[in-house]
């Protein structure tokens, strides 16, 4: 069964079309990545999934049936920017959010306490929300999303503002929730962050899906056509001949995308002639590379 199914969904604001006939399916129990640059239409898409806006055309299906407001009790939504009342106490606010999703006050309070301990902000429950750091507020928002134990979690840029320790904590919790069978949707422009988490993705640009499928399938499609080279000396070879289609210089190493049909061994020889090669490895392209590649083609 699919947790979410969008069928030819379209949304425009005045003359600007934010989402153009987008179709996608999110498998129940999967971790799905909705990826794309800023302004691609990710948040607009999510808003239609949770009924904040209504699509101009197309259909949104949730849990196998057309969307209805009742579904919201089974969904948890973490918005991109902090959506919290600043002057409310942390504990009161969490209880309010729990109640809004149908929990009793006592239930909500007990769950809030449990989660605050888990997320390491139990000591802050009696403080006003505005006294918390940005990272702590993000964790608080995260808890508010989970209190009612939703089957489907929508995470819009969940790691923004979190240090590596807290980002790991959040990721671990999410993986655990996924193991329990909950479906998770990541929406982000930081593709490297979700690459390791997602089983399926949908890349969107300018409101349109440009690439969809399971991660394995997509990467397979592109093959091991990338080469990572660590070298000392001149980088002249990068500006050579027809072997290289594009490259990305990271300073310590360079990632090269081979031209179609080019032989990697030829490139190795050429680099070795002029520079000292410390590492030469054939790798799968990163999502980011694939995205740049796809978007570059569609934009051209």
């Amino acid at each position: 069964m699919h947790t979410v199914e969008l069928q030819q969904v379209r949304k425009s604001y005045d003359k600007f079309v934010a989402v153009k006939d987008l179709s996608l399916k999110i498998e129940q129990g999967s971790i799905f990545g909705l990826l794309g640059p800023n302004g691609a239409g990710k948040t607009s898409t999510i808003r239609m999934m949770i009924g904040i806006t209504v699509p101009d055309s197309g259909q949104v299906r949730m849990f196998g049936e057309p969307f209805k407001r009742d579904h919201l009790k089974r969904i948890g939504y973490l918005p991109e920017t902090s959506g919290l009342y600043k002057r409310m106490k942390v504990s009161e606010q969490l209880v309010l959010f729990g109640q809004l999703r149908g929990l009793s006050a006592t239930d909500a309070a007990a769950r809030a306490k449990k989660w605050c301990e888990r997320m390491d902000i139990a000591g802050w429950m009696d403080k006003k929300t505005e006294e918390l750091s940005k990272g702590m507020q993000q964790k608080m928002q995260f808890i508010a999303t989970l209190l009612h134990e939703p089957e489907f979690l929508i995470m819009d840029e969940p790691f923004s503002g979190l240090d590596p320790v807290n980002a790991t904590l959040l990721k671990d919790v999410l993986l655990e929730l996924n193991k329990e069978g909950r479906t998770i949707l990541f929406s982000t422009h930081r593709m490297d962050q979700v690459e390791r988490l997602c089983s399926a993705i949908c890349l969107i640009n300018r409101g349109e899906a440009v690439l969809q499928g399971t991660l394995k399938e997509i990467k397979g499609r592109y093959g091991r056509s990338n080469v990572q080279i660590e070298y000392e000396g001149t980088d002249e070879f990068l500006r050579e001949n027809g072997l290289i289609q594009s490259f990305n210089n990271y300073g310590n190493y360079v990632e090269v995308r081979l031209a179609p049909g080019a032989d990697s061994q030829k490139l190795l020889h050429m680099v070795a002639e002029r520079s000292r090669v410390n590492k030469f490895e054939l790798v799968e392209p990163s999502l980011e590379d694939i995205f740049i590649d796809v978007v570059g083609k569609t934009d051209a």
């Binding site: 949770i50 806006t53 939504y77 918005p79 991109e80 902090s82 309010l96 809004l100 928002q141």
Partner: protein, 427 residues
């Protein structure tokens, strides 16, 4: 319903815990006390000092007459005019000077400058016949003294001329007896005890209360919506509740705050209100019957709901506090109009102007309530105004929740009026 309650409670608790609520609760009654009661208290204090006045006139009889009339305490009039009696506690020392030579004029002027006397009445025979008497003092704008003097002079001149025509002294006194009109309100075919002037001030006082609280809380609702919009909290809220619920909760919460505030004020001022307050030389009893209290509550709550809905719509249509300020006149305008027309409405609560104004929903809370207070309008008018008010509130709520719903999802760009109109049509 459950969500509306949750939002209302949140809004209520947050506002009531704010410092501004506590400050306002204390400050507003204090200010009103300061503006109304304090000046007359100070005024009556000042008058315990006695003023020295000289009447310079060549006519000894006239001088004595003026002095007697001036010094004579006014007759006790109706009990309600205790304030006037208070004013007469100002004590005067009056001397009559029959020397009206230019030299004496210089001497008297010098005495005024040196604070020996407070002023002198310059009335030589020529001035008397021309009725052009002058009073010279350091405080030329002491209208109270001037008024009393002018009355005394007029009476003195009248008695003089009566005497000339041979009218007996008792008869003269009887003729000159002042006339008092005691204004009483007729209600339900009975003459009631409440005086017109008391009603005027009661209306004024309650109007200020209504005006200030409605203005203040509609602005507060506006800011609260703006805050939700800017912090994007509505995204989370709208993923669990509808914009109508959010809006209704917010406005009901604000109304509950207003009721709390009025309740606190009523409890605190109830013992005071039972006492008469001396104001502008009038002793006033705040004449508030139970019926009027109920009407006050009804109009207060309805006015509150209407203007809060307006505030919420404004808050959702703008992007920043600065922008919001430019649109505040939308809220203030009908309130100001009501305030401007308050006096004509009080004076002629039955006029076409008053009737029309009281039926315009945005003016109803203030104007209709004032009319009820001054002179109970026909029941159908009260009923119609209430129906219109409730209808407008409902329409505002549904329009506002649309603006709210769409306005909060649009950032950065300030909506134009046609766009807002479009949003209203958009479901």
């Amino acid at each position: 319903m459950h969500n509306i309650f949750l939002f209302a409670r949140r809004e209520y608790l947050e506002t009531v815990r704010k410092k501004s609520f506590i400050v306002m609760t204390i400050l507003l009654p204090a200010m009103m006390f300061g503006f109304t009661v304090l000046p007359s208290m100070i005024a009556s204090k000042k008058s315990t000092e006695s003023q020295k006045i000289v009447i310079a006139t060549s006519d000894r009889q006239f001088g004595d007459d003026v002095r007697d009339k001036f010094m004579k305490p006014p007759e006790k009039k109706v009990p309600a005019r205790r304030g006037a009696a208070d004013a007469s506690t100002r004590s005067f020392e009056v001397q009559v000077d029959t020397n009206v030579s230019p030299a004496e004029e210089t001497v008297l002027t010098a005495k005024v400058s040196s604070h020996e006397i407070d002023g002198y009445l310059w009335a030589p025979a020529s001035a008397l016949s021309e009725r052009k008497i002058s009073y010279r003092s350091r405080a030329s704008s002491d209208f109270e003294t001037l008024g009393a003097l002018s009355g005394a002079i007029r009476e003195a001149l009248l008695s003089q001329s009566f005497r000339k025509h041979g009218v007996p002294a008792e008869e003269v006194a009887d003729i000159l007896k002042p006339v008092n009109i005691d204004s009483k309100k007729v209600e339900n075919g009975r003459v009631t005890d409440s005086s017109g002037i008391a009603l005027f001030f009661t209306a004024l006082l309650l109007m200020i209360l209504l005006y200030v609280t409605i203005l203040m809380y509609s602005m507060s609702v506006m800011r609260s919506v703006l805050e939700e919009k800017n912090s994007r909290i509505f995204e989370v809220l709208l993923s669990t509740a509808t914009s109508k619920e959010l809006m209704a909760g917010k406005i009901l919460g604000a109304a509950a705050v207003g009721i709390t505030q009025i309740a606190i004020w009523t409890l605190v001022t109830a013992p005071l209100a039972a006492q008469s307050i001396s104001m502008f030389g009038e002793s006033i009893r705040l004449g508030l019957s139970i019926k009027n209290m109920i009407f006050f509550g009804v109009f207060f709550v309805l006015g509150f709901l209407l203007y809060s809905a307006l505030g919420a719509a404004l808050g959702s249509a703008v992007n920043s506090e600065q922008e919001a300020q430019q649109f505040q006149f939308v809220i203030m305008m009908p309130l100001i109009v009501s305030a401007i027309f308050l006096t004509p409405v009080i004076q002629q609560p039955h006029s076409t102007l008053a009737t029309v104004l009281s039926l315009i929903p945005f003016c109803t809370p203030l104007i209709m309530f004032t009319r009820i207070l001054v002179e109970t309008p026909p029941a159908w008018q009260i009923g119609l105004s209430l129906a219109l008010l409730v209808g407008t509130i409902y329409a505002m709520l549904s329009i506002c929740s649309r603006i709210y719903r769409i306005g909060i999802l649009m950032y950065g760009k300030r909506p134009t009026l046609p766009e807002i109109v479009k949003w209203m049509k958009y479901a």
